[in-house]
Symmetry: C2
Subunit: 376 residues, 2 copies
């Protein structure tokens, strides 16, 4: 039996929190899901088998980075992103819309799209909804994201409205561009992205326009851009409920462990964030007792594991003292092991979330988590 | 049955080449053996299990690096080097004599030993034969190297003689220092190091003095320091034969694959070198067809494995095109995979050497190797 193109089923709910699974051709994605970020065709410092062993069902690839290096056409000639990097399960690709504004230079935005200079070699490129769909098709992405403009934090209501309206026009062009690649569209899914900043009225208009176009899943975009957790949660109190209950809801670029718990509580099913990988390379570990920086001198002779409650290969093999030494000495193995632990921690967090929703005690899980997790 | 402290048996010889095994408490070392270098308590970019899976029976640790960071006393408090880094098989430690001269600053050499400033923080330290033995004991090294002076390349006969004579006095002090640590001496082995530069007469005197003191194994020191392969081989034509035939002979800091084949041909049993790890991080791969630099543009769309004759996890999973991308993009996974392949290649080379000696066709193996291996 062939897996379906895309099917989402909710097995249990607890308040607004839901647990279930997305079935796709390349495998199942248990939700709520956390997607490790594999920016440049690699989850940094991790082999694909290690990412999978940590419990990840799906990873994220970045259109912006991959279009510049090694190039989408090249990836296609090499058999697509999965074969290229050796990951055979689902991959979600972003549209490039966010990174083109945050990473590239000399950007020129128009109704057509965004012209920009590569942050790698200065070469000129153009991203439009149509080109973004083409790139994600060349990569053979499983979940394609609509091309949108990420509205900046702190803008006026008028700016937020204009930006959202443009993103909705681009959402329609993304839908058409995606559908035009008929062969790929038969095996991949397309997600729309809700915008509207922190404004309830704009979020509603955006949701209605997206539903009108029709997508396989819906992302809440434009959050985690500097507004703070309180404002983010206030927006998540209303935004996810405007999106179809029978489709997955994806909060882009989030976040810290407590952000994730609070967002699941508000009806979110999918997450991605560079935190576990980037922090790992910087010596920060996520633990059930909160984050810790392994460079701290108090760990120099600490024989205990990074996290006594963690069963990952790092915590069952090496001491804090060894990790402290590796990170202080700038050894690559330090970044490798810290990243591996963090990816495991995030996946264990999602497993705890899923399990507690399934048995109807998510509120208890969240309360226990918040009691133990002390953010420094 | 407990493994012996140290026993070396030769299973087969072919010309001067020998194959056999060293038995030690922590495991067997098949010879000829290549020891990956784990400078700062890590074989760079490799987990211990990956080093073992590549076929390594023993790794090398550096006394100089470890005494400075994290410190030998600290490693001892943390249970010794094996527990600290998670490698339970034999570890050979060098004496620090070579690195103190090549890496540290403000060195002051005397009959007593070497005073120096740390290359990490400028702190003042002193290495003597006695302190080197103490450090290697604190690390709980399995094979301890005598503290010596690595005679510089291009010195006069008189300089070489004076330097060798001092190293021989230090060899005796090393033997006494090692034996003074009675408990450790009951489970570890001590190797002496022959010096004498390229001079046959000095090499003979050095060998006789070492044999007079008595060691578990004997290293040929002072080679691979810039003299070139021809001069090194000319010295290896006579130097190993001066050392006891029933003890392992170790050529320190060697080398390139063709150096190793030529040295085995001349009676060497053990090797160590940073080449497979350091080159891997720089994008150079060793293959049966010679070295290649994966950064070369011709690999950008090469779907083939790094080395078609290699069965390592890297060559059976990823393409040259992917490795080219990772290394060009500065991705850590690039260094990890290139290192993993190189360590596998070196171990496969040693396996090929051992197997061919065992069946009496080492000359054929060496000829085939040289025909295929084209050094760029």
């Amino acid at each position: 039996m062939t897996n379906p193109r895309f099917s989402f089923s909710i097995a249990a709910t607890d308040g607004k929190a839901r647990t279930g699974a997305i079935q796709m051709r390349r495998g199942e994605i248990r939700t709520p899901a956390f997607m490790p970020v594999g920016t440049a065709a690699t989850v940094k410092a991790m082999r694909p088998a290690e990412v999978r062993a940590a419990g990840a069902d799906i990873i994220l690839g970045n259109t912006y980075h991959l279009m510049l290096r090694p190039g989408a056409e090249r990836v296609a000639r090499l058999g697509g992103l999965h074969a290229f990097m050796g990951w055979d399960r689902p991959i979600l690709t972003d549209s490039g819309g966010y990174q083109v504004m945050s990473l590239s230079a000399l950007t020129k935005m128009s109704e057509e799209g965004v012209a920009f200079s590569s942050h790698i070699d200065g070469s000129r490129h153009m991203l439009t909804p149509e080109r973004s769909m083409e790139i994600q098709r060349l990569l053979d992405s499983d979940i394609v994201m609509a091309f949108d403009e990420c509205t900046r934090n702190g803008c006026t209501h008028d700016e937020a409205a204009k930006s959202m309206e443009r993103s909705m026009r681009w959402a329609k062009r993304s839908r058409d561009g995606f559908d035009a690649g008929a062969e790929h569209a038969e095996r991949a899914a397309l997600f729309g992205i809700q915008q509207g900043s922190l404004d309830e009225g704009l979020r509603r208009i955006s949701a209605e326009k997206l539903i009108d176009i029709g997508f396989d899943g819906y992302a809440v975009g434009g959050l985690a851009v500097g507004e703070g957790q309180e404002a983010m949660f206030a927006t998540l109190d209303f935004a996810p409920g405007m999106l179809p209950a029978d489709k997955p809801r994806y909060l882009m670029g989030v976040g810290k462990p407590d952000d994730i718990v609070g967002a699941v509580e508000r009806g979110i099913d999918m997450f991605d964030c560079v935190l576990p990988t980037r922090s790992g390379r910087n010596g920060q570990a996520f633990t059930w007792a909160g984050p810790l920086n392994i460079r701290n001198a108090r760990f120099a002779e600490d024989k205990g594991p990074l996290d006594p409650r963690c069963g990952c290969p790092v915590c069952t093999t090496w001491s804090r003292a060894y990790l402290h030494h590796l990170v202080k000495a700038g050894e690559m193995l330090g970044a490798m092991l810290m990243t591996q632990h963090n990816i495991h921690f995030y996946q264990a967090l999602m497993q705890g979330i899923r399990d507690s929703i399934a048995i109807g005690r998510f509120q208890g899980f969240a309360a226990d988590f918040r009691r133990d997790y002390q953010r420094a």
